[in-house]
């Protein structure tokens, strides 16, 4: 799998569109699932997932070929999803010490029990409790939980995607899981 992906990426670097199409086919479901779990809306999730692939294409020269491609791709998709969440909720915009690439720290000051605005809850397409519960989490827990359970990634991969120490990732997963337990008990 990795060898195939590397071969395709080398073709893409030469400017081959069709080779990139193969990459999209390989990863589209996982990238879409990631953005959907983060955003809770199919249309927005599709926009973000497409944008993630286009960014991957235009920045393919910056991808380090010896690293895992999925890690790099998920990182783009996660950051774009968080960006989109921020745009939807301008009052959450806490960007004092945030650089352009790391969209995560801006949420570090948001408390775990923050509620979604009413209209967002209504707009959710999926009705299952766990999905709603994930969407009620603040971004920093939502991303960690999504990467762990929807993408089933290791703590190490999650820490690379989120650019955070493993200890921080663990804490976020613990707190996220704790918050989900409470939400599910309430439902």
């Amino acid at each position: 799998m990795d060898a195939i992906v590397k071969r395709i990426i080398l073709q893409v670097r030469k400017g081959d569109h069709n080779a990139f199409g193969e990459l999209v086919e390989l990863y589209k479901d996982r990238v879409f699932a990631l953005s959907y779990r983060m955003l809770g809306n199919r249309q927005e999730a599709e926009d973000v997932a497409q944008e993630a692939f286009i960014r991957a294409y235009t920045n393919i020269d910056r991808y380090q070929i010896d690293r895992k491609f999925s890690t790099w791709l998920y990182r783009i998709a996660t950051n774009l999803s968080i960006d989109r969440m921020r745009k939807k909720k301008p009052d959450y915009y806490l960007d004092a010490e945030v650089s352009g690439t790391d969209g995560l720290t801006m949420y570090s000051q948001i408390s775990a029990d923050e509620q979604l605005p009413e209209d967002e809850v209504v707009s959710l397409e999926a009705q299952d409790g766990i999905h709603r519960a994930i969407l009620s989490l603040p971004a920093k827990y939502r991303s960690a939980i999504t990467l762990k359970y929807i993408q089933e990634l290791s703590l190490k991969e999650i820490s690379e995607i989120l650019d955070l120490p493993i200890g921080t990732v663990k804490t976020r997963i613990h707190r996220g899981r704790e918050a989900l337990r409470k939400k599910l008990q309430e439902q």
């Binding site: 400017g15 997963i173 899981r177 989900l180």
Partner: protein, 215 residues
């Protein structure tokens, strides 16, 4: 287990639960937790709820990207480099590519052989060259073994050529005593020249096949 009778659980117990779920707990921690939840119903319930949450998370349905996702992405990509487009076109049209390549090489070689320097080729024999009339002469009594090619000069044959004679961009005169055992050919225009080269190619291809068959 000091906390047991005081109904107060060790503060780190919930942390241990999460470490166990993450398969990140030591054997010692695991034993501590499982011993504890046998006597503490609150912690047991908490742990059960966490496990239930986890099983919900793991069982969430896998998702498919919407139809047409890939083509929508492809339409939005920046223009690809021209060279790549050409390479792919060539791969998908091998016959046309071969034909174009053939024509290009053919034109190139024909043109360059037409414009190349004056030349004279014969495998053996003595030839005389008359500069005033720009004429190559095969003297009387002389025998050329093999083909004779003369380019941008005239040719006069008084002796004998045991092979084909080709005169390019020149004229050839045959003296009454002269003898040519093969074909005599005069080529005066680039079109004739192209025709000649093509004929030669077809012949050599034909030879190739007859050789193959005779094997």
């Amino acid at each position: 287990m000091k906390g047991g009778e005081a109904m107060k659980c060790p503060a780190e117990m919930i942390g241990i639960m999460h470490d166990v779920l993450d398969e990140d707990a030591t054997q010692e921690q695991k034993r501590l937790l499982f011993n504890h939840i046998q006597t503490c119903s609150d912690c047991k319930q908490h742990y059960e709820e966490l496990k239930k949450t986890e099983s919900f998370l793991l069982s969430s349905p896998s998702m498919k990207a919407p139809d047409g996702f890939t083509s929508k992405v492809m339409q939005q990509l920046p223009q690809e480099k021209r060279t790549v487009w050409i390479k792919r076109w060539m791969k998908s049209h091998p016959l046309v590519t071969a034909a174009i390549l053939f024509l290009a090489l053919m034109t190139g070689s024909v043109y360059s052989s037409w414009t190349s320097e004056d030349q004279l080729s014969a495998l053996s024999g003595n030839l005389r060259f008359d500069q005033e009339t720009n004429t190559v002469i095969v003297p009387e009594g002389e025998v050329i073994e093999g083909d004779l090619t003369v380019k941008n000069r005239n040719l006069e044959i008084e002796g004998e050529v045991k092979g084909d004679v080709l005169v390019i961009n020149g004229e050839q005169y045959m003296a009454s005593a002269g003898q040519v055992t093969g074909d005599i050919e005069e080529v005066d225009h680039i079109l004739d020249w192209t025709w000649y080269e093509l004929k030669k190619l077809v012949h050599s291809v034909g030879d190739f096949f007859t050789n193959e068959e005779s094997k």
